[in-house]
């Protein structure tokens, strides 16, 4: 199984808490910003949901160095 990579752009992140609420196993609020719980995860649809839901488009999900989330 190919690992997915999660990244949160802290300059863009507004700390809305949407991702941490949507996918608490993958994202947590670290003070005012969100951060991935683990940078590398097994494929998980909820990571894509969180990336899609972020109003700041601060979350990037990559697999094999290809961006797969947010989805187009």
């Amino acid at each position: 199984m190919t690992a997915w990579h999660l990244a949160v752009d802290r300059d863009r992140c507004m700390g809305t808490g949407i991702c941490a609420g949507t996918a608490p196993a993958l994202f947590r609020l670290d003070g005012r910003h969100s951060a991935p719980v683990n940078d590398s995860i097994d494929p998980d649809e909820s990571a894509l949901d969180a990336a899609d839901s972020c109003p700041a488009a601060a979350i990037t999900v990559t697999a094999r160095e290809t961006v797969i989330g947010p989805r187009p």
Binding site: G15, G17, T22, S53, A57
Partner: protein
């Protein structure tokens, strides 16, 4: 655990924008406050910033559970339905369908158009002459035109859905039956528009949602209609109310207004500070039910008990914001909860920000002598507070 007798809630008056005194007292008292609204279960009330943010962000507090409880509410009619009464993963399924239309990046593309619209409305006000009604002539048309175009609703129908939208957000005397009837009319209207979009697809959000249903089966027909209704109502009512609230607040703080006029670049920061400073709601609504025992701010909330969160109070928490009751348009810490927090964080926040920024900037630039020019008539609704009409001169 001791259960003290609940106090009557909400605290705020509707003919003004002040935050009622009991909030300060509640913030300074350990634990949560026991409150009771006109209808429904007694509830815990969270008033401190950290407690409010915690409850809104923690999955052990459920909105969906409100559907199976006697939810605390101001009027008899059941309000909860749709996306605000859902938890993940159902909530996520619907929210991701509309989220893309409201990202900062998407919304930013509308900025030139919103700026032009604000300019045209100001032109029209100048032509008609003083006094103008800031609500009817400016604050309402801006978000209405934008959300209509984005969603795919004819802006010409505004007088019609204005009445429905007003009624749905109102808690003035309306029975459960009347509430259901109004919601039914608005749903029928939206169902008609959905049918039109199905026949003749457009480049708008409604068409995207119709495709998500018809091609990908990602939502039911009822969910589709309710989602469109929610986007339409939430997409204009709050911005249309906050813009006059912001203008009124600035007129009452002439030093802050002067600072903003001297530095138009400061408008985005000022909008954030005004979002923090102005308590939009008459009181908390949309109670969260604990799904297990959870300690919040020194109180053990038992499984099955509802918690109301006061965003207005959290935003005035001196433990979080320095000199919290002072309006400071250049405040550096703008991490307010005005758009909520967690999975239900305002979907339209980027659009609301843009409309408030452009609306405020254009108005202040056009009218250096902006002033109140008559009696303010206040909304008597108990969900959002603000002027129903705000006469201005220049």
């Amino acid at each position: 655990m001791e259960r003290t007798a609940p106090v009557h809630y909400p605290f705020n008056r509707t003919d003004g924008l002040d935050l009622a005194c009991p909030y300060r007292e509640a913030r300074g008292t350990p634990g949560l406050t026991r409150v009771r609204m006109n209808h429904g279960d007694a509830a815990w009330l969270a008033t401190r910033y950290e407690d409010v943010r915690f409850v809104l962000g923690d999955r052990r507090f459920s909105r969906a559970a409100a559907l199976t409880h006697d939810e605390p509410r101001q009027s008899d009619g059941r309000r909860s339905a749709g996306i605000l009464a859902m938890d993940p993963p159902e909530h996520t399924r619907l929210r991701t369908l509309v989220a893309k239309a409201f990202t900062v990046r998407q919304v930013e593309r509308l900025r030139p158009q919103v700026r032009a619209l604000a300019g045209e409305l100001l032109d029209a006000m100048e032509e008609t002459g003083q006094p103008a009604d800031l609500v009817e002539d400016y604050a309402l048309p801006i978000p209405v035109f934008v959300i209509c175009q984005l969603l795919g609703v004819p802006a010409a129908d505004r007088p019609q859905f204005r009445v429905w939208s007003d009624s749905l957000l109102s808690t003035s005397p309306m029975t459960a039956g009347e509430f259901t009837a109004v919601r039914g009319e608005l749903r029928d209207y939206m169902a008609g528009l959905v049918a039109e979009h199905r026949r003749a697809p457009q480049d708008d959000l409604m068409t995207a949602l119709v495709n998500a249903r018809d091609q990908d089966d990602r939502l039911s027909e009822e969910e589709l209609i309710d989602l469109c209704v929610a986007v339409l109502v939430a997409g204009h009512e709050t911005t249309a109310t906050q813009l006059p609230n912001f203008v009124l607040t600035l007129l009452r703080h002439p030093d802050q207004l002067a600072r903003l006029r001297s530095d138009p670049e400061a408008v985005p920061a000022a909008v954030e500070e005004l979002m923090r400073f102005v308590p939009l709601g008459a009181g908390a609504s949309a109670a969260r039910y604990a799904t297990e025992d959870v300690e919040v701010g020194g109180t053990l909330v038992l499984a099955g008990e509802p918690v109301l969160v006061s965003i207005g109070s959290a935003n005035h928490d001196g433990g979080r914001f320095e000199d919290a009751d002072r309006l400071d348009v250049a405040r550096a810490d703008t991490h307010h909860l005005g758009f909520g927090h967690g999975v239900h964080h305002c979907l339209g926040a980027p659009l609301a920000r843009l409309e408030l920024q452009e609306g405020l900037a254009a108005l202040l630039a056009r009218f250096p002598g902006l002033r109140l020019a008559g009696e303010i008539v206040w909304k008597d609704e108990l969900l959002v507070r603000g002027p129903r009409s705000l006469p201005i001169g220049w």
